[in-house]
Amino acid sequence: MVPLSWYLIFAAALFSIGLFGVLSRRNAVAILLGIELMLNSVNINLAAFWRYGDVSIMTGQVFAIIVFAVAAAEVAVGLALVISVYRRRNTVVADEIDMMKW
């Protein structure tokens, strides 16, 4: 059986890829993709800890499903915002959406 630490290393790697994507991509859609990666790395952690802990307590699995639901809703809202911004500003580059600065 694959040891737990492998899962954790895999999840951490996936989280770092996601974080890198969020910080480095200019396209807002790509940033959203990065966020999805980070969320899913967490899900892997949750599932792994459930499997290697007390299997009868379903908290980890349930929490992973809630994260799916939240992620789906978040992506729906996020994409809608991106479309709305594109319509007004004709761009989806995150650096160019800087109206909030002083």
């Binding site: 969020v22 910080l23 480095s24 650096d95 959406i97 800087d98 109206m99 909030m100 600065k101």
Partner: protein, 711 residues
């Protein structure tokens, strides 16, 4: 109703009338005078009932009608006020009630009730006459007084003051009545306040009497301090009087009684216009004539004499005070009589004659001739009221003439503009003649003769020869100027068109004249000495009655021919000489007695102006206003202003501006601004940079926590 209750009620109707008129009825002339005259009538009725009941009491002097109530708490005891009617009060009440009622009635006619409103009358000026259209042609008739109701309100209050003064059983309420009259005197002398002369006269009267009043109040205070009471009955006990007479006052060797007496007497000098405070009374003739009659003949000046008579048991304790009283009285009598000789204004002659006659009474008191003083006070009130009302009637008649001719430059009060009025105004003439003869002391028939004769008899019998001669001279002058007045006014032929067209006055004015004339003759008969001219007549009723007031009844003076003959000679001689001198005088230029010194009243007004008014004005205007106020006080204030301003600018320049504004205010703002300016660089608006910051800080804090918490 018991007699004491009635006495309490006597002063009330006039004061009620005053408030009713002032508050409610002042728009209705008819209602106002009805209320006022009705109130006077009620008071008169009460006074008469009290008088008649007083006559029925055997020993009224020992057991007077009295009643008092607790009024003012003074420590453990009460100050009691109340009413007292002893023989003196009863006699005074009698003449006050009569004269007040007559004057109220007379005022109705004097102020032209029933006449039309004037064409151009103003409030505060005497009426100028109204034009009426009758049978197709116009003529001018007298117009009604514009402030008719106000006049009746004032004299109502005045009557209240007089009645209060008379029925008081203590000096304090007497003084209250005294001051109410002072106020009313001011209001009524200045009744035609739009005339500057009337205003000045009102202020002069008020200020001059105030001088006397202050001393009187001092006397009252001293008396209260010395005895602890102001009630007459309590003061006039043998024990209290003895104490007062023996305790020295520490002032020029006067006893306490002497000093109190002197202070109270100074009050009388002011009120009764004695020398040297006589100057206000002649000027008081600026008021309407009923006021002159009421205040300056019948009541107010009488109140001054009444107060000394009332305090006689106290004043008579000190011979020095009595000497001063006698001197002032006798001097005033002759002094005022000489001035009266040279006056041309019909009312001013009477004013000086009043001063002179009051001097007679004061002199009589100074000679211990108590009853003679009371007697002359009462007869004088009657005939002087008569004379004043008569002169008012003459002026009224003359004003009628002035309205007829339309020549308003003719002074209706100047006797040289009159003459021959006996045919035009017969009732006025005959009553004025009676009054004048009473004033002169025309023998046997008139009241003035009996009262003046009693003063002479007392002076002679008690050995006051100097006063006797002085008063005889004054009486001679009195007869002389009275006859001068009658001759110039009524006898001969009219000297002006106005006198030619003078007219008799209405019944409301002549009725009081007739009634007062009856008293001017008849009242003398109550005081005929028992052994007059060696005859054996009825006992002297007046002597018996009023003498009962004093603890020791004054002795009856034996008859002596010398004072009687003196009295006869001066009266008849003066009257004859007056007629002889003035029967052919037609103008002031022909009058050889118009000596400037007399004409100008010995320059007393000028002297007082120089001695008191000018210095007072200088003190107020220059010293207090210019020097004290503008120089000293304002000077100090002007230092404070710049000093405070300087201090303020120092604080501002060296503390407020640099410390508060620059350092704390601007400094904190600059720091905040500068910090903000530097920090805003990180506000890029780029979400990835923010996230980068968050990540870095998270790693740093996480590393720190890991590092520290591990241990």
């Amino acid at each position: 109703m018991t007699t004491t209750t009635l006495i309490w009620l006597i002063p009330l109707p006039p004061v009620l009338a005053f408030f009713l008129i002032v508050l409610f009825t002042n728009r209705s002339k008819w209602l106002s005078h009805t209320i006022a005259v009705g109130a006077a009538l009620l008071s008169w009725l009460g006074s008469m009932i009290v008088f008649v009941r007083a006559l029925g009491v055997e020993h009224l002097g020992e057991e007077p009608f009295e009643s008092s109530i607790n009024w003012l708490p003074t420590g453990d005891t009460w100050f009691r006020v109340g009413v007292l009617v002893d023989p003196l009060t009863a006699a005074v009440l009698f003449f006050v009630a009569w004269t007040v009622l007559m004057i109220f009635l007379y005022s109705v006619g004097y102020h032209n009730f029933g006449q039309p409103e004037g064409d151009h009358d103003h409030k505060g000026l005497s009426p100028h006459g109204a034009t009426v259209d009758e049978h197709g042609h116009k003529h001018v008739v007298p117009s009604v007084e514009p402030m008719y109701s106000r006049f009746f309100a004032f004299i109502g209050l005045f009557a209240f003051g007089m009645y209060t003064l008379v029925v008081s059983d203590n000096l304090l309420t007497l003084f209250v009545g005294w001051e109410i009259m002072g106020l009313c005197s001011y209001l009524l002398i200045g009744f035609w306040y739009a005339k500057p002369s009337a205003r000045d006269a009102a202020i002069k009267a008020f200020m001059t009497t105030r001088v006397g009043d202050v001393f009187m109040l001092l006397g009252i205070a001293y008396l209260y301090y010395a005895t602890g009471t102001l009630s007459f009955r309590q003061i006039f006990t043998e024990q209290v009087l003895h104490t007062l007479a023996t305790v020295p006052s520490g002032f020029l060797g006067f006893s306490a009684a002497g000093l109190i007496g002197l202070l109270l007497f100074i009050g009388t000098i002011g009120k009764s216009a004695q020398f040297p405070l006589h100057v206000w009374l002649p000027d008081a003739m600026e008021g309407p004539t009923p006021v002159s009659a009421m205040i300056h003949a019948a009541t107010m000046v009488s109140a001054g004499v009444y107060a000394v008579i009332r305090m006689f048991p106290l004043i008579s304790l000190d011979e020095k005070t009595m000497a001063i009283v006698a001197f002032i009285g006798a001097f005033t009598a002759i002094f005022a009589a000489t001035i009266a000789v040279a006056q041309n204004d019909i009312k001013r002659v009477l004013a000086y004659s009043t001063i002179s006659q009051l001097g007679f009474m004061i002199a009589a008191l100074g000679m211990h001739a108590y009853i003679a003083a009371v007697f002359h006070l009462i007869t004088h009130a009657f005939f002087k009221a008569l004379l004043f009302l008569g002169s008012g009637s003459v002026i009224h008649g003359m004003e009628h003439g002035v309205l007829h001719t339309g020549n308003h430059h003719v002074d209706p009060q100047d006797m040289f503009n009159m003459g021959g009025l006996r045919k035009k105004m017969p009732i006025t003439f005959w009553t004025f003649l009676i009054g004048g003869f009473a004033l002169s002391g025309f023998p046997l028939v008139t009241a003035g003769f009996w009262s003046k004769d009693e003063i002479f008899a007392d002076a002679f019998a008690n050995g006051y020869i100097v006063i006797f001669i002085t008063l005889a001279l004054a009486a001679f002058l009195t007869a002389f100027y009275t006859m001068r007045q009658i001759t110039l006014t009524f006898l001969g032929e009219p000297r002006t068109d106005e006198a030619e067209h003078a007219q008799e006055t209405p019944w409301t004015m002549t009725t009081p004249l007739v009634i007062l004339a009856v008293f001017a003759i008849g009242y003398g008969w109550v005081g005929i000495p028992e052994d007059f001219m060696g005859l054996h007549l009825q006992p002297n009723w007046f002597h018996e009655f009023v003498g009962g007031t004093l603890a020791e009844h004054p002795e009856t003076i034996a008859f002596n021919w010398i004072p009687l003959l003196t009295s006869l000679v001066v009266a008849l001689g003066g009257l004859y000489l007056g007629w002889l001198t003035y029967r052919n005088v037609n103008s002031a230029a022909e009058d050889r007695l118009q000596i400037p010194l007399l004409k100008n009243k010995y320059y007393f007004d000028e002297a007082y102006d120089f001695l008191f008014v000018k210095p007072a004005t200088w003190f107020a205007e220059i010293f207090v206003y210019q020097w004290m106020d503008k120089g000293l006080i304002d000077g100090i204030l002007h230092i404070f202003g710049p000093a405070t301003q300087g201090l303020g600018s120092v604080i501002r320049n060296y503390f407020d501006v640099p410390v508060i504004n620059r350092f704390f205010g601007d400094g904190s703002a600059d720091v905040t601004y500068g910090v903000g300016a530097r920090l805003r660089a990180i506000q890029t608006g780029r979400i990835q940079q923010y996230l980068m910051f968050a990540l870095v800080i998270f790693i740093v804090i996480g590393a720190a926590l890991y590092f520290f918490l591990r241990a």
